[in-house]
């Protein structure tokens, strides 16, 4: 399985992000939002059926987080750390390879 495109950024943010106030309250670390695991907002979770997937990339293209990336074979990988469960991917999937199921916590 491929790595999250944000791996380096997560490591950097975890290491360098500080609350030390700067002049002008400048945020110096680009992409430091990756430290917020917005996956905790999720009520419905996308479940992926690889057999049905035709690798059209629509789910990847339309994810507003982005919480879907592609593996070496161009299959989507769902990043549940950030997926808020909006369901756009399931709605747009032409082969119903993605279904939204209630999150069990």
């Amino acid at each position: 399985m491929a790595e999250s495109p944000f791996k380096v950024d997560i490591e950097r943010a975890e290491k360098e992000l500080t609350e030390k106030m700067t002049p002008g309250a400048i945020a110096y670390i680009p992409g430091s939002s990756v430290i917020n695991k917005t996956g905790s907002w999720r009520v419905f979770k996308p479940e992926f059926n690889k057999d049905k997937c035709v690798r059209c990339f629509l789910c990847y293209t339309y994810c507003p987080e982005p919480a879907i990336y592609l593996d070496e074979e161009n299959y989507p990988v769902f990043d549940y750390d950030y997926c808020k469960g909006c369901g756009i991917c399931a709605n747009e999937c032409p082969t119903n390879a993605i279904t939204m199921v209630r999150e069990v916590k």
Partner: protein, 311 residues
């Protein structure tokens, strides 16, 4: 695996992400997706200015940032002026601005921040001819303050200050055609785009980069929260807005109009298909829908005429 043509086209979107996860947009946010595309297009070769709006929240509170590019948050009505200042400063420093390898200065403001409170600064920016791009992400109301109507809100829409009642109807004015006001400035490049058609949007972003002078893109970006729509319908709604000709895709380039509809030969779908997925239109009567439908087709006809005459 054999990759079909349309998928190949989709894959032409740059893979790198400069819009980072962990941002705090609502579920299914059209504006967030729009930002992701813009950052994909311009990567780290852009400087952004964003007024106080949903995108302020989306980009993150201090000390966080969801942006991989430099970002400047400014006051609600100042986007046009601030990008003018940034562009002037970069030029004074001897940087290349716009063009294939130049820095893109991008203003990213909502419909309220563009069509209403920011209209004066926008006009100044366009008229002075700065080399920058202004993107209006259109979600058809003041969403950040809690769904109040803007001049870009369509006829018949419910918002918190067009609630409808015994004496007053819902929103009774038609959507303001900001793009026509922009084109009246006779700038080199203006276009509409939709988050449902990212290839078309990307192509327009590239054009905006290559053509010198001020560019403007009005990006249709549904807001499921404000439109009282299911969060998974964002793309479907954006697509239907185009297919019904409610929000037609077109470009205005050096005086010429060009319509970029996905299926140019098809007649527009009935507006009801766009309306019925959204709670904000559920109070409209049959007559109201007819009024809106008539407006949509009239505007569509006018656009087609422009493309015919000034194509």
């Amino acid at each position: 695996m054999e990759i079909p043509e349309n998928v190949k086209k989709r894959l032409s979107l740059p893979f790198e992400e400069h819009f980072y996860a962990g941002h705090t947009a609502c579920q299914g946010c059209g504006a967030a997706l729009g930002l992701r595309y813009v950052l994909k297009a311009y990567g780290k070769k852009a400087i952004f200015a964003i007024p106080a709006c949903c995108s302020t929240i989306i980009a993150g509170p201090w000390p966080y940032s969801a942006f991989g590019a430099p970002l400047f948050h400014t006051a609600f009505e100042t986007t046009g002026a601030v990008i003018s200042g940034i562009e002037a400063a970069l030029k004074a420093k001897g940087y290349k601005v716009k063009g294939k390898d130049g820095i893109m200065v991008v203003g990213w403001a909502g419909d309220g921040g563009t069509a209403d409170i920011g209209l004066q600064a926008l006009s100044g920016f366009l008229e002075r001819g700065h080399d920058a791009l202004y993107i209006m992400y259109d979600n058809e109301a003041y969403m950040n303050t809690g769904i109040q109507r803007s001049s870009s809100t369509p006829y018949g829409a419910w918002t918190t200050n067009t609630p409808g009642g015994k004496k007053h109807f819902l929103e009774r004015r038609h959507k303001k055609k900001v793009i026509d006001i922009v084109i009246a400035h006779k700038i080199p490049y203006a276009a509409t785009a939709s988050i449902a058609f990212p290839e078309d949007f990307m192509r327009k972003l590239r054009k905006a980069q290559e053509i010198p002078g001020p560019s403007f893109i009005q990006l249709f970006a549904p807001c499921p929260t404000g439109w009282r729509a299911p969060t998974d319908k964002t793309i479907e709604l954006a697509r239907l807005a185009v297919q019904t000709a409610y929000f037609p895709l077109f470009e205005y380039e050096n005086g010429k109009y060009k319509i970029n509809m996905p299926s140019p030969k098809k007649e527009p779908k009935p507006i009801e298909e766009f309306l019925k997925l959204q709670g904000r239109f559920k109070y409209m009567t049959k007559e109201d829908i007819e009024i809106l439908q008539e407006w949509v087709l009239r505007e569509w006809k006018e656009l087609k005429k422009k493309a015919e005459v000034f194509g």
